[in-house]
Symmetry: C2
Subunit: 285 residues, 2 copies
């Protein structure tokens, strides 16, 4: 039985004026956690799909375009990433990419919603494969509280959150990014999902300006992700020390490319090129 | 009165499994030409929108991401583009970008569907502004027939077509690209819209392979276009002589950037970086 899932953002908050619709088959799970609604459905064209609060989080067919890009850009920009923290990331995909790096000694993931992890293990085994890696340390807890307890610990921190409403609201504030800075080592890098450049211009500008105040260097980069609004998604990159290419590990990048579906050294260079409308938005008063 | 327009491709040809929906207001025009159906509607968020055969062609808000990228990449890759041919392009946007280049002496546009040009002049004046430029030469005619009459004439040819069904079907064949090659000068460049890398992999691979057979050099490049399927769109670039950067006019690019919303020198370099899945698709047997 085929039907259409129509993405439905809360229009009182995000009235985008456009939406994605995806043909769906069987519903595999539908439930509510204390934080959000979770739905997992089959689709005829894109494998299984995860939906949180009526927004598409991922499909099996295209999840790589998000997970490879949030993880490998900072991990290859850092000369020696050993300690990595993921805030959010409950579906497991980001940790899978982080743990492809043999130099990573410890990957901590702090996800607020245990239901997302539990159901991802059940329905998305290819995403959660790294959760059983010996280097993995999983906490079902509030990422903001966790980060307060960490000082000078991490080489790379990845903020793999949902939109800045609901459970992820605190992950877009200056106070949070000051704590992230304290949790990073002096040469640490933070990357955060930063919404669509076409739709969320105010959120994106504010996040960029916060990062520029808190860190020595901040920029954005892009990935092409079909089922996120507009199909183009941004990540914020900030560092106390490194520009993306200043210590980039080009040889290791080239070696890993054969295992990946999206990321490669040319994409690493290219993803930081921003269209004019996006550049202008970032520096608006 | 707000309602949703649901993009509806012919599922017997393109069963994508996903679709874009856009909130619409008033219908400004609805009619049929001998070639296709044409609809022009208002949208609350994206200005006016043009729909051909139930597919979104453009919105006022985002048309630049297509028109700047189809035009400026080849025009800045060519060291001295003076004679430019556009096959299709009836909405006028591509000619507007071509005629930003002061060195262009003549821009010929051959559009098969006069209704698209007529209604674009009426409802999209900011797209058709260049049609009254003294350097413009507009033919309402079949592009395939026109190109047969041209030999060694053009520096750049832009194939600004719809999908490879209906009126644009002939614009994806080897026979057509051999005629395009003959119509180009020895150092000419052709660029053609080349569909979504996520959805139209067979079309894209076949077009790429045709171009590689016919020309000395061929590649693809990308733009982020919100309302085309997947939000990421490809253009094919082929030349008898130039690689994209071999004679690129960097200073002229930088000078024009301030007038544009998408294209800039960094985008020129970056747009040729292709994700792994796309590279692999192009070379599949």
């Amino acid at each position: 039985m085929t039907q259409w899932f129509n993405e439905a953002l809360d229009e009182s908050i995000f009235d985008l004026g456009a939406r994605t619709s995806i043909k769906t088959g069987r519903t595999l799970f539908k439930g509510e956690s204390p934080f959000q609604s979770l739905e997992i459905v089959e689709t005829p064209k894109f494998g299984r799909m995860m939906i949180l609060d009526n927004c598409v989080m991922l499909t099996e067919a295209h999840e790589y375009a998000y997970h490879e890009m949030i993880a490998h850009v900072p991990l290859f920009a850092h000369p020696k990433p050993e300690q990595v923290l993921i805030i959010g990331g409950g579906d497991g995909g980001t940790s899978r990419e982080v743990l492809r790096h043999p130099g990573v000694k410890r990957c901590v993931m702090v996800e607020i919603d245990g239901l997302v992890v539990e159901k991802s293990r059940e329905f998305f085994p290819q995403l959660t494969s790294a959760l059983s890696d010996a280097r993995m340390e999983l906490h079902i807890a509030d990422g903001v509280a966790y980060i307060e307890s960490q000082v000078n610990t991490f080489d790379v921190i990845l903020v793999d959150s949902t939109d800045p409403v609901g459970p992820a609201e605190g992950l877009f504030s200056k106070a949070f990014y000051e704590k992230v800075k304290a949790a990073l080592k002096p040469d640490g890098i933070v990357v955060a999902q930063a919404e669509s450049p076409y739709y969320f211009q105010k959120t994106q500008r504010e996040l960029y300006q916060v990062l520029n105040e808190v860190y020595e260097y901040a920029t954005l980069y892009l990935s092409a992700i079909p089922f996120y609004p507009s199909g183009t998604w941004s990540f914020a990159f900030a560092s106390k020390q490194y520009l993306p290419e200043s210590q980039a590990r080009w040889e290791a990048m080239a070696a890993m490319t054969q295992d990946l579906q999206y990321f490669n050294p040319e994409i690493f260079r290219a993803c930081f090129a921003l269209p004019n409308f996006m550049r202008r938005n970032l520096v608006e008063a």
